[in-house]
């Protein structure tokens, strides 16, 4: 049991380092509260953003938490693979640079697993080869498929 846990832990740690560095240029890693007996302590998720000091994930800013959480989520794929990811506006708190970085990361990741992401951000929407537009008419929802080369305006779909 401990061997299986440590193997998963190390894989997760390695993958989080990769994903986070690509997304931010900073560093993230895991630390065990009690390395000798991992089950008697917790796991710290540490992150050091560019220009900042290393911190545990729970004391970061709103946008920083979203970035670290997505890194953790995607890294989890290596220890417990899912066929698809459903993400509802995970980019809402991100500034333009990190939103763009996330859009690119999700595109790259989509060769490993299917990604279905809801976004209102131009930089994420315009990067995707497949865009679905949802709109409301007379109290009911409809969906249209928007081609990639269409300049997507989140609002025009009401037409």
């Amino acid at each position: 049991k401990k061997a299986a846990f440590m193997k998963a832990y190390e894989q997760l740690d390695r993958e989080i380092r990769n994903v986070f560095t690509v997304l931010t240029g900073g560093e993230a890693w895991l630390e065990l509260e009690s390395p000798d007996d991992p089950f008697s302590g917790g796991i710290f998720l540490m992150a050091k953003f560019p220009k900042g000091a290393p911190r545990e994930s729970s004391s970061l800013s709103g946008g920083e938490k979203a970035i670290v959480a997505v890194s953790f989520l995607l890294a989890f794929q290596t220890i417990y693979p899912s066929g698809f990811y459903l993400l509802d506006e995970v980019d809402a708190a991100l500034d333009p640079m990190y939103a763009q970085g996330l859009g690119k990361m999700l595109s790259d990741w989509s060769s490993r697993a299917q990604i279905i992401v809801i976004s209102l951000k131009e930089s994420v929407v315009s990067k995707s080869p497949n865009v679905l537009g949802v709109y409301m008419t007379a109290g009911s929802s409809n969906v249209i498929r928007l081609k990639k080369e269409v300049q997507v305006d989140v609002r025009t779909q009401q037409s």
Partner: protein
């Protein structure tokens, strides 16, 4: 296993005539104005995967999930998802698997896999073989992504242990 199509009929803001949503195996971005029905699509995916808590689908009781503009008593909500199973993640020897959940006005649900009716437990058990569950880490509801970073160290360890 991934999702190739989702069909909604009478589920939340979706009307009684079926609306189909095609998905690519790579990346799919869903966008649209506030209140157009984007998160309801996500709720429909969780519903068809077995989510049974109305609160998690943002209503007080399951019968509220039926489109409220369909006045007639016999109206119901139905969501189907077509899954690509070429990797045989789901232990059924078919390339495509159609999963369907129907909800009557009285709150009762029926579950179908490739048009065969199953009990809720059989349905969930078959899906779990492919690591598919309505409350998996791979499904993030609107406004909740920060929570993963706010887990306590013990909860983080628990998340890793749970999946071993």
């Amino acid at each position: 296993v991934y999702i190739t199509k989702l069909t909604l009929k009478g589920f939340k803001s979706f009307p009684q005539h079926p609306v189909s949503v095609p998905f690519e195996p790579t990346i799919n971005v869903i966008t649209g104005p506030n209140g157009s029905g984007k998160s309801n699509i996500m709720d429909a995916l969780r519903f068809v995967l077995g989510e049974n808590s109305p609160k998690a689908l943002r209503h007080n009781k399951m019968s509220d999930l039926v489109h409220d503009q369909s006045a007639d008593e016999n109206s119901f909500a139905r969501v189907s998802a077509t899954l690509d199973n070429t990797d045989r993640g789901i232990p059924v020897d078919e390339d495509r698997i159609l999963i369907t959940r129907e909800l009557k006005r009285n709150g009762d649900s029926q579950y179908f896999m490739n048009s065969r009716r199953l009990s809720r437990n059989q349905y969930l058990e078959i899906l779990s073989a492919a690591h598919i569950s309505y409350d998996g880490l791979n499904i993030i509801a609107q406004g909740t992504i920060q929570r993963l970073a706010e887990l306590t160290p013990d909860e983080k360890r628990g998340a890793v242990e749970q999946y071993l």
